[in-house]
Symmetry: C2
Subunit: 484 residues, 2 copies
């Protein structure tokens, strides 16, 4: 019996025959990035049903020196879930958490929910809504993204301005380490000062330090009333000034605050049917604002009008529309949410996910535009920005004929130019998408070497054989060596 | 020249003569716990003026194999700032951050403040208030506690229910590692998904992994209106039920929610002058509630009345008083804040700082009372509980004649009994006070060995010679050995 066959037999003895696949046909959707851009391979895909099975699989993987590639909903944008082992003799085991999908407990007094890692975000939304609570994490892929992946990538989205990223919603984790050790912190304690906060290391670690098998998440009250506005502005700096007015007048009510450039919305008008522009023409910049309150008595329209009034008076606002119905609110947000589809139809968009301090967003956009105009004059620059977070999705849109044949090399050239601008403004090259396999060389190039060294040391400590999602986050050729 | 003299000369060359003291008289207030319960010793106390000086001192300490004991305001309750080296040949260097006390920047758009570690919390409150913002961290020692210490101990207090502990207020740290390496993350980014969140390891690490020299902290809006009530109840479980009503009706408005037992308030009435009881007699349990809103238009009294009405209707409330003036509000909270002073006058109180899930607070109090009645019948049990956090300060009050001569041994016996109850209910033995030197043996006894092992490994990684606050957090006899 080959080593591979022996290993699979050992795993089957743990999980049973219905919980493992190994034929290329069955594995195809798992070993491929969801957008079909990256192809990986693996000995098998395993579907453990509980934490003890995960632990047993990790011990078997260790015994056979096989890497382990955890996968949730496979909705990432940086190829972090594609199994691409450096060592071709050990292509590894894919670990799908999808069968661990129980919502274990909703505690309305403590405002906590305990879930398995494989629970789909949309399902969790529904379950907590039924208990009068909300888990304020909203993103395009919520119909398939799983909690474990969302935590491993520290997911963001449009509500971070108010509730923070996934990191801020985690009250505890259950983890399986490379050697099969289980670390449980599912007590749901609001305070615990008994040493190092290990959980936080694993949030955003992209599966390179351990497997997240369950979590306790913080619940928030449901929004009982909301107000929505589309505000036309002259410039990003007017937008940050207006944001400051919102922070003064409605400090705890900002559910979303999205800044979008005219160039971006022109593509939505061009490519998407059934979008309605509430202005005579597109403003240079659009600020899409949602206010929300858990107290139905809060008069959000009045607050919105107060701020807009002040914005008009101080010359910050060109024009604005407050949604007068739920249907109108949905129209406004439909425009915003049509961006991805419009861009796909337009051409080849090279998207960046940078973050700078909120107050520096205008500087970043101006500097990035200058660099783009000089280096890539054929590209059109477009901005979609989670303004309250300083998170700018800066896209350079190329027509297909302008992009060289080797588009990965070209994309990296573009990314380097824009990342340099972000770093010059003390920003980061990944705000919410992560590093994955896409940005490891950029992280290596731009991050503080002292920080990278500590990261490598921690990786070596918790995964001395570099078997947990190898090649993700840290450059493989470097992270193979042990210790510092 | 002795090694000590040579080392002091090397440090003096870095910081200058006015920034180091080494005479026993001058060092006395630094090497002693502020309550005078623990005495330490050190070669010298150094007062660096900037991060580069801290880095240079760390390199000198490494060269001379001396431990380093960081100290902020010396206001801790667990002896975490007392320099007590195991190795008497190397008593070490105390590092006081008090001269690094600049508030570097207040950014109103990004809602962030950048501060040196030695800034006193009360001074920071005043500075951000002048900019219309708040740093919602309030505790008795805020007149002397420093930011670095508050972060190193992940401080709590009465506002955690709404804003979280110090961990949740940190947006970035500047750190100096044991070898003098400086790690800077002061960019104030709301999102940064470029690898392991190292800062979080140092929050609550009690100075055992590195020295915090500066921080970016998240600001909140100032409270524009508030409402205060003292509610009399029959039981802790009625209190958690009422808390659920508050969470439903005023979910984002709870600034404080403190549960206090009659036995505790009897001592306040007995020992503190000028406290006024707004009831004919003390209720069995008191819930002290503050609602706050940054929007002056929020009618908090109406919301408070709504909840109390519902509480009366469902039989949860015996009696309640809503403060009708600021003066009355202050009277209510003066009662609450007189607890420590009353206890000091009464006798020997052995205080616990446990945390259980909010919904289990009633079970904990009942079980702890049962254990106490059986094991320590001469003691009176008293409860002050940050109910929204599940954090119970459970005190057993002994008369002096009932406490054996060796009171440290006796205290540990009492603590063990109460800690066992907390752990049985999936709770923790330290919610907000930390471990320090006080609870290392209890942590060793009760924590998950797998978790402790990873903590030891991380300690060995970042401080291989065990020179950073040795003896704090991890048991010295064990943490001296390197690796796992």
């Amino acid at each position: 019996m080959s080593k591979k066959a022996a290993m699979i037999e050992a795993i089957l003895a743990v999980v049973g025959t219905s919980s493992l696949i190994s034929s290329p046909e069955e594995m195809a959707p798992f070993v491929m990035d969801w957008r079909g851009r990256r192809q990986g391979r693996a000995h098998c895909v395993v579907f453990p049903k509980n934490t003890e099975e995960v632990s047993a699989i990790m011990r078997i993987a260790a015994r056979y020196s096989e890497p382990v590639f955890p996968v949730g909903g496979n909705t990432g944008l940086c190829f972090g879930a594609v199994p691409q082992a450096q060592d071709t003799v050990h292509p590894g085991i894919m670990l799908s958490l999808r069968r661990m999908n129980t919502i274990r407990e909703i505690d309305r007094i403590a405002n906590l929910v305990t879930v398995d890692a494989g629970v789909v975000l949309g399902d969790l939304h529904n379950a907590v809504a039924a208990e009068g609570r909300s888990l304020p994490m909203h993103l395009g892929s919520e119909g398939s993204a799983q909690i474990g992946g969302l935590i491993s990538t520290n997911a963001g989205g449009t509500n971070v301005i108010r509730y923070g990223p996934m990191r801020d919603l985690v009250a505890g984790l259950e983890l399986v380490l490379a050697d099969g050790t289980i670390l449980r912190n599912l007590e749901g304690l609001k305070k615990n000062n008994t040493g190092y906060m290990l959980d936080q290391l694993f949030i955003g670690a992209e599966g390179t330090l351990g497997i997240i098998t369950a979590a306790v998440l913080k619940l928030h009250p449901r929004i009982a009333t909301s107000a929505h506005a589309w505000i036309g502005l002259n410039s990003p700096s007017d937008a940050t000034s207006l944001l400051a007015l919102f922070r003064d007048r409605a400090p705890n009510l900002l559910e979303a605050c999205e800044l979008v450039s005219r160039s971006q919305y022109e593509l939505v008008l061009r490519h998407i049917e059934r979008v309605r522009l509430p202005f005579a023409e597109l403003p240079a910049w659009s600020l899409m604002v949602e206010l929300g309150s858990a107290d139905a008595a809060t008069d959000l329209d009045a607050i919105m009008e107060d701020v807009l009034q002040k914005g008009y008076e101080t010359g910050l606002i060109l024009d604005a529309v407050i949604a007068s119905s739920q249907a109108q609110a949905e129209e406004i947000w439909h425009f915003r949410h049509s961006v991805s589809e419009a861009n796909k139809k337009e051409g080849i968009g090279i998207v960046h996910d940078v973050c700078v301090r909120v107050s520096r967003v205008p500087d970043f956009i101006q500097a990035a535009d200058e660099v783009s105009a000089a280096r890539f004059p054929s590209a059109k620059s477009m901005v979609v920005c989670h303004l309250g977070d300083g998170n700018v999705h800066y896209t350079l849109m190329f027509q297909r004929q302008d992009v060289p044949a080797d588009d990965e090399v070209f994309a990296l050239e573009v990314e380097k130019a824009i990342h340099d601008v972000a770093v010059r403004l003390d920003g980061t090259i990944s705000a919410e998408h992560g590093i994955g396999r896409k940005l490891t060389s950029e992280l290596e190039r731009l991050a503080d070497p002292a920080r990278i060294q500590v990261m490598r040391q921690i990786k070596s400590l918790l995964d001395p054989d570099n078997r947990l999602n190898p090649g993700v986050l840290l450059n493989p050729c470097m992270s193979d060596h042990k210790g510092a």
